[in-house]
């Protein structure tokens, strides 16, 4: 899906991403996934701290598709999930640059938190 009209936006202009959006993009970095696979990956990777509901997931995917960060792949069945045809989603090149920009932003935040000894210090 094409990016919205009105001139190209830089990846940084999308920042900060919401946790759900960033997690969805991260789940798609490794390859195409259908909705439920994205949902389970987000739950597992966030160690159950972030659980996406179907509405939040597809609301975010709709927005990501409109903004050209995610693309729709072919509709096919998942052999592990039964014989229903599922729509697969994949991250676009632009979506990947947005995810990288967000990761860099978070890295900088973590660096500051470390300097201020908010993390990385063993409790006494």
């Amino acid at each position: 899906m094409p990016r919205p009209a009105g001139g190209p936006r830089s990846p940084e202009s999308y920042l900060p991403l919401t946790p759900a959006t960033f997690q969805i993009l991260m789940a798609l970095v490794d390859g195409e996934r259908h909705g439920y696979a994205i949902m389970t990956e987000v739950t597992e990777r966030s160690e159950h701290t972030l659980r996406l509901g179907a509405g939040t997931l597809y609301g975010s995917l709709k927005r990501l598709l409109e903004e050209g960060l995610v693309d729709e792949g072919a509709e096919r069945t998942d052999p592990e999930m039964g014989d229903e045809r599922r729509r697969y989603y994949r991250i676009t090149k632009f979506g990947l640059s947005v995810a990288k920009a967000e990761a860099r932003r978070l890295e900088a935040v973590v660096r500051v938190a470390r300097q201020k000894k908010l993390i990385g210090v063993r409790p006494a």
Binding site: Y36, T40, A54, G55, T56, Y58, G59, K62, R86, R87
Partner: protein
């Protein structure tokens, strides 16, 4: 469809129709997968309801906003087309009647060839504008071509009359030159937009 899926289908009604059309089936599949993976009970239903309550209102607002934008663009498109049609009819009628009145006055003063030519082309230009206005009003397929022909003819005629045979009134000449320019601009920039809005 199980009872739980029927309840979830009711919850899905909270989302706008276009969103349900696009993602309703996928959401139902995800719900089914969640149930298969063992998610059940009150906590699961509270989470489902909370997710719908949180995600549906922004999607509703977005859907209303885009619907409202489409409606107002549609109205704008119709208003633009109708305005141009009415102006074409009024100005075409005025130019025709004015050319005939000028002809009558010229006849009283004794016709010469130049006056006859000015009256004839003035009437032709006026009638063309009138026809273009009617074609636009009835949304004829020929309206754009007719309007383009009328605008170019009218512009040429009134520039020629104004420069070579300044017999028409100033008001009629200004209108005969100014309106075709507006019509040409509408055909070049406004019509495509109006057509897209009305389509």
């Amino acid at each position: 469809m199980s009872a739980a899926e029927r309840v979830f289908a009711v919850l899905l009604r909270a989302y706008p129709a276009d969103f349900r059309m696009a993602y309703g089936r996928e959401m139902m599949l995800v719900f089914r997968d969640q149930r298969r993976s063992g998610l059940r009970g009150l906590r699961f239903w509270v989470e489902c309801s909370w997710d719908v309550a949180r995600s549906a209102p922004p999607l509703r607002v977005q859907s209303w906003r885009s619907q409202w934008q489409r409606d107002s663009q549609f109205t704008e498109g119709i208003a633009m087309r109708v305005t141009m049609a009415i102006l074409s009819i009024l100005i075409g009628t005025f130019e025709t009647v004015n050319a005939l009145a000028e002809g009558r006055a010229a006849a009283a003063a004794g016709f010469d060839g130049a006056a006859l030519f000015a009256v004839a082309v003035g009437v032709v230009a006026g009638v063309l504008l009138l026809a273009a206005g009617v074609a636009q009003a009835v949304r004829s397929a020929r309206a754009p071509a007719l309007a383009l022909g009328a605008a170019i003819t009218c512009l040429t005629v009134f520039v020629l009359i104004g420069v070579l045979l300044p017999r028409m009134s100033i008001f009629s000449t200004i209108l005969g030159i100014g309106f075709p320019i507006i019509l040409l601009l509408f055909l070049r920039f406004g019509r495509g937009q109006a057509a897209r809005m009305v389509a």
